[in-house]
Symmetry: C2
Subunit: 217 residues, 2 copies
């Protein structure tokens, strides 16, 4: 019925998002980001995005081949940045699996607190991309999970982690997924106005992660 216009109907006075005259392509990216996050890719129209940067529909196609390409551009750039940050954090954390796990969780949580919008879009709107693009992103996610699995495996081998097991057997992939789910979805509810700062969130989640894998002191 409502088609989710959410009340913005004043028609005049297009709410221009940019504050300095950025390259229009950057303004479009930013506006699309914000709107996809708030209302979801399929219901955000090209007209919505362009109005938010003070332009009209047609102008999009001077900068992007299609609405699809715009979304793809947005998602892949944030996803690859996430992968890069995770690898970097782990590589710079020394040799102790506990330190590596803590560094990973810290980066992951802080990022998902700070860049809530980016995380939200990347996690919710992948489905609209065509198969090959999706496969690319899933590959990156598996890579991130495997970083975590490797840390856990190393920790178990060296006796510093004692993760939970079922029927006498570890399932580190599942534990890693639980950790990632937990950390990823802070982006859904964390707000800077809440009880904890990003730093405190990172600390709390790092603590919980170490407990979950049975880290020895």
């Amino acid at each position: 019925m409502s088609k989710r216009k959410s009340g913005r109907e004043e028609a005049e006075a297009p709410v221009v998002v940019e504050r300095e005259p950025r390259a229009p392509v950057e303004a479009i990216r930013a506006a699309a980001f914000a709107q996809f996050a708030e209302r979801g890719y399929p219901v955000v129209t090209v007209r919505d995005i362009m109005k938010a940067c003070g332009l009209t529909q047609g102008a999009l196609y001077n900068h992007f081949k299609s609405k699809d390409e715009l979304l793809h551009d947005i998602i892949t750039s944030t996803q690859s940045e996430l992968e890069r940050q995770c690898k970097q954090a782990v590589a710079g954390a020394g040799d102790d699996p506990r330190a590596k796990l803590a560094a990973f969780v810290r980066v992951y949580v802080v990022r998902h607190c700070r860049l809530r919008i980016e995380a939200l879009v990347a996690n919710r709107e992948i489905g609209w991309l065509d198969a090959e693009r999706v496969a690319d992103i899933r590959r990156s996610r598996r890579a991130i999970r495997d970083i975590l699995v490797d840390i856990l495996l190393d920790g178990v081998k060296r006796g510093v982690f004692e993760p939970p097991h079922v029927d006498g057997r570890h399932d580190l992939k599942t534990v890693a997924m639980a950790l990632l789910d937990q950390c990823t979805h802070v982006s859904k509810w964390y707000g800077p106005g809440g009880d904890l700062t990003e730093e405190q969130m990172a600390q709390l989640y790092g603590d919980m992660a170490l407990r979950m894998v049975g880290a020895q002191p």
Copy 2:
């Protein structure tokens, strides 16, 4: 461009979902469930849903007032069922906070493994409902979170839980959210063909939950 038709273009041979001649309203619910889960509410058309039950568009309106109402029907019924199950599980678990937490996590995880589709739809598509309906569901979610917070609070008071703290202070609401996020999102990746059964998932997640809150043995 593609509008996400995902290749189904044979036109003839509508893939009828029902195996026995159920009440059409049930067939519609089931077909809508499956399609919303797979492709998302806004891009699934009334024509898609009805074709999947071997009917045509118009017939929907003999059973539901609108596409919106269909979604609302689906989501509220699963959400209230979840709330009921959680309450029941906790109430029947005796007095020990550890047993209560374990029972809660068990029910929550098993449900989210078994009813993946329902959970997926309920979690992803709320946004399309009008404000009042959304508020209703959020209330139910807060209620579930508060069940968990109460268990934690009780456990802390009685000295059987020692949850992580930041700057010397507990934040049980955040711990509860972390637990819920972790358990909720198994529905995104768990599959019966995987390494663990539902029972094993429940056990593993119960174990991790007890570790996270520092349950004393």
